[in-house]
C-alpha cells in the first residue's frame, strides 16, 4: 500500500499531455482540510483547553489543594479500586470467551458473539438500573441482602458490578477477531508435542495475543475509570464513600465549585491522554508487524 501511494503521488507519467484529474484541485484540498481542522478544533481541542484553563484559573496552589482534599483522594482511591477489580475480571472473561469462540465450532456461536457485544448498545443508565432492580431495597434480591446486612446498591459493590456490565465487551471483542485470524495450528502443535491445556494457553496462546490483550485492557481500563451513567444510578453520591472521580466531579460542579471540579477533571483528562498515546503506540506496532509480515 505504501508503494502504491508513493508512486501515485509521483504524479502522472511524463507522456500525459495534461494532468489527469486524480485528486481534487489545490483550492478544494485547502478548503476540505480547513473544514476538517476547524471542526476538530471546535469540537475536540477547545473542550480540552477549557479543562486545563478552568482547572488552573485560581493558580497552581488551589489546584493542588483541590486534588489533595480528603474527598478527592477518596474518589481517586475508589476509582482505582474499581478499575483494579473490574479489569482483571473482564480480562479473564475475555480470554475464556475468545478461547471458546475461536478454538471450537459449536451451535449458537454468532448469537454468543452478539450477546458479548450487547453492553455496548445498551444505555449505561440501563446498565446501572438493572442492578437496582436486582439488589435495591425493592429489588428481587433486595430483602434477602438487607436481612443479611449486605449493602450493594448505594455502596461500593454496586459501583463495581455496574462498571463490570459496561466494560464487559472490551477485552473479548479485541481477542475474538485476533484469535480467529491466528487459527488453531500453534495450539494443536503444542498439544501434540505433549503440552497440557494450561501450558498451551500460557506458553503458546497468550504470548501470541499479548499485544491485542494489552489493547483490550487499555480500553477497558479507560472506560472503567471514566464510567459515569451506570455508576451514577447505583452510587447514591455519598461523598467520600461512593463517589468515583467522575461522580465527585458532578458533585463539585453542581455545588458551583468549578475550579475544583475541573482540577479533578484534569486528572481524568491526563489519563485519557495516556490511554490515547499507548493506544497509538500499540496500533503503530501492529501496523509495522503487518508490514513486516507482508514482506515475507
Amino acid at each position: 500500500m505504501v508503494d502504491h501511494f508513493s508512486s501515485f503521488h509521483a504524479g502522472p507519467p511524463q507522456a500525459a499531455r495534461r494532468s489527469l484529474p486524480l485528486t481534487e484541485s489545490a483550492g478544494a484540498r485547502t478548503i476540505l482540510i480547513t473544514i476538517a481542522l476547524g471542526f476538530l478544533l471546535l469540537f475536540l481541542l477547545l473542550p480540552l483547553v477549557v479543562v486545563f484553563a478552568e482547572a488552573l484559573r485560581m493558580g497552581l496552589g488551589s489546584y493542588w489543594a483541590a486534588i489533595r482534599e480528603p474527598e478527592a483522594l477518596a474518589a481517586i482511591r475508589l476509582t482505582l479500586l474499581t478499575a483494579l477489580t473490574v479489569v482483571p475480571l473482564n480480562a479473564i472473561f475475555g480470554i475464556a470467551a475468545a478461547w471458546a469462540i475461536t478454538k471450537f465450532q459449536f451451535a449458537g456461536k454468532n448469537l454468543l458473539i452478539t450477546l458479548v457485544d450487547l453492553p455496548f448498545s445498551v444505555s449505561p443508565v440501563i446498565g446501572g438500573m438493572v442492578f437496582v432492580l436486582l439488589f435495591g431495597r425493592q429489588g428481587v434480591f433486595g430483602p434477602w441482602f438487607a436481612a443479611h446486612d449486605i449493602k450493594i446498591i448505594f455502596a461500593v459493590p454496586g459501583i463495581i458490578i455496574a462498571t463490570l456490565f459496561v466494560t464487559l465487551p472490551f477485552v473479548a471483542r479485541e481477542l475474538i477477531p485476533l484469535m480467529q485470524k491466528q487459527g488453531t495450528e500453534y495450539e494443536e502443535a503444542a498439544l501434540m508435542l505433549g503440552a497440557n491445556g494450561w501450558k498451551t494457553l500460557f506458553r503458546v496462546t497468550l504470548p501470541n495475543i499479548k499485544w491485542g490483550l494489552l489493547y483490550g485492557l487499555l480500553l477497558c481500563n479507560g472506560r472503567a475509570i471514566g464510567e459515569f451513567g451506570a455508576v451514577a444510578v447505583v452510587s447514591g453520591h455519598i461523598v467520600g464513600l461512593t463517589t468515583t472521580m467522575p461522580l465527585y466531579i458532578e458533585v463539585l460542579y453542581n455545588d458551583f465549585n468549578f475550579p475544583a471540579a475541573f482540577a479533578v477533571a484534569s486528572l481524568l483528562t491526563l489519563m485519557a491522554f495516556v490511554t490515547l498515546i499507548l493506544k497509538t503506540i500499540l496500533e503503530w506496532r501492529a501496523e509495522q508487524r503487518l508490514a513486516r509480515g507482508r514482506l515475507h
Binding site: 489527469l20 484529474p21 486524480l22 481534487e24 484541485s25 476540505l32 476538517a36 481542522l37 476538530l40 469540537f43 475536540l44 477547545l46 473542550p47 480540552l48 477549557v50 479543562v51 478552568e54 479473564i92 475464556a96 470467551a97 478461547w99 478454538k103 471450537f104 465450532q105 459449536f106 452478539t114 450477546l115 448498545s121 445498551v122 444505555s123 449505561p124 443508565v125 440501563i126 438500573m129 437496582v132 432492580l133 435495591g136 463490570l164 456490565f165 498439544l191 497440557n196 491445556g197 480500553l219 479507560g222 475509570i225 471514566g226 459515569f228 451513567g229 451514577a232 467522575p246 466531579i249 468549578f258 475541573f262 477533571a265 481524568l268 485519557a272 491522554f273 490511554t275 490515547l276 493506544k279
Partner: protein, 280 residues
C-alpha cells in the same frame, strides 16, 4: 444448557471447551443476560394500563422526541463532517496529520462527565464560545442545541473510524481508469469513489445514533434538563428511579432496550454490507 456439549460441536484435540464456555456463559448470564431479563420481566409485570399510561404521558413522549431527534441530527452532522475528516486524513498530506489521527479517539477516551462540564463551560453565556454566540442571539448551553453539541462530541469518532479503513483499502486504479477514460473529477467521485463508501457512512451514522440515544454523562450538564424541552430519556429514567417509581422507570428502560436491540441488529447487517463492499 445445550444438553451434552460434545454433541453440538465438532471434534477437536484442543481441551477446555466445557470450562471456557462454562465461564463465558455463567459470567455473561450473571452480569448481562439475567439482569436484562429481570428488567424486561419487571416491565411486563407493570401491566398494560401502566405501560400505556407511562408511554403516552406528554413528558415521556417529549423525552423520546428530544433523545431520538437530537441523536439523529447529531449523527447526521457527524456523518457529513466525519466523512470530510476521514477523507482529509486518508487522502491528503499536511502537517500534524498523524497527531490529529490519534486525537480522533479522544471522545472514546475522555470520561463523559469531563466532556460534559467542559462543553458546558465553553458554551455557557460567559464561556469562550457562548459569549460570542450570545452576541448573535444564539443560546447553546441549557437548550436542546447544547444536547446536540454534546452528542456531536461523543459521536465524532464513529463515522471517521468506519470510513477510514474502507477509504484506505480503496483501489485507486479504478479512479485512474476513470480519469484515463476522460471522466471529470466530479464524475469520478460521484460514480466511482462515493458509492462503495455508502455502507461505511451508514454504519458510522447508525453507531453514532445508537450511542447518542443512550448517552447521559456528557449531556446532563449542558442540557438544562427542562422537562418537555431539554430532558433526555436516560435522565427521565434516573428521575423516576429517584422518585421510587420503579414501574415507570422500568417501562421506559424496556422500550429503550428494545430500540437498542433493533439498532444492534441493524448495525450487524450494515457491517456485513460494509465488509461485502470492501471485499468486492
Amino acid at each position: 444448557m445445550f444438553g451434552g456439549a460434545t454433541a453440538i460441536r465438532q471434534r477437536s484435540i484442543i481441551p477446555g471447551f466445557e470450562l471456557s464456555l462454562g465461564v463465558t456463559l455463567s459470567y455473561l448470564g450473571l452480569i448481562v443476560i439475567i439482569p436484562l431479563c429481570v428488567l424486561l420481566l419487571n416491565a411486563s409485570d407493570a401491566g398494560w394500563a401502566k405501560i400505556w399510561a407511562e408511554l403516552s404521558s406528554p413528558r415521556t413522549l417529549a423525552a423520546f422526541r428530544v433523545s431520538f431527534g437530537i441523536a439523529f441530527l447529531a449523527a447526521a452532522f457527524n456523518a457529513g463532517f466525519g466523512f470530510i475528516v476521514a477523507w482529509v486524513l486518508v487522502r491528503y498530506q499536511f502537517l500534524g496529520r498523524r497527531f490529529i489521527d490519534a486525537m480522533i479517539d479522544l471522545p472514546f477516551a475522555l470520561p463523559t462527565a469531563v466532556a460534559g462540564i467542559s462543553l458546558t463551560q465553553l458554551y455557557a453565556e460567559k464561556g469562550w464560545l457562548g459569549s460570542a454566540l450570545a452576541a448573535t442571539g444564539i443560546k447553546v448551553a441549557f437548550t436542546p442545541l447544547g444536547i446536540l453539541v454534546a452528542l456531536v462530541f461523543v459521536g465524532l469518532p464513529f463515522v471517521v473510524r468506519t470510513v477510514q479503513p474502507v477509504l484506505q483499502d480503496f483501489d485507486r486504479e479504478t479512479e485512474e481508469a476513470g480519469a484515463l477514460l476522460g471522466a471529470s473529477r466530479t464524475n469520478i467521485l460521484r460514480r466511482i469513489v462515493f458509492p462503495p463508501l455508502i455502507p461505511a457512512v451508514t454504519t458510522g451514522f447508525t453507531l453514532a445514533f445508537a450511542r447518542g440515544i443512550g448517552e447521559y454523562g456528557s449531556v446532563i450538564f449542558i442540557a438544562g434538563n427542562m422537562p418537555g424541552y431539554s430532558e433526555i430519556v436516560p435522565l427521565l429514567i434516573i428521575i423516576k428511579l429517584e422518585q421510587f417509581d420503579y414501574a415507570g422507570a422500568t417501562v421506559i428502560a424496556a422500550l429503550m432496550l428494545v430500540a437498542s436491540f433493533i439498532l444492534l441488529f441493524t448495525i450487524n447487517l450494515l457491517q456485513a454490507w460494509t465488509r461485502r463492499q470492501q471485499g468486492g
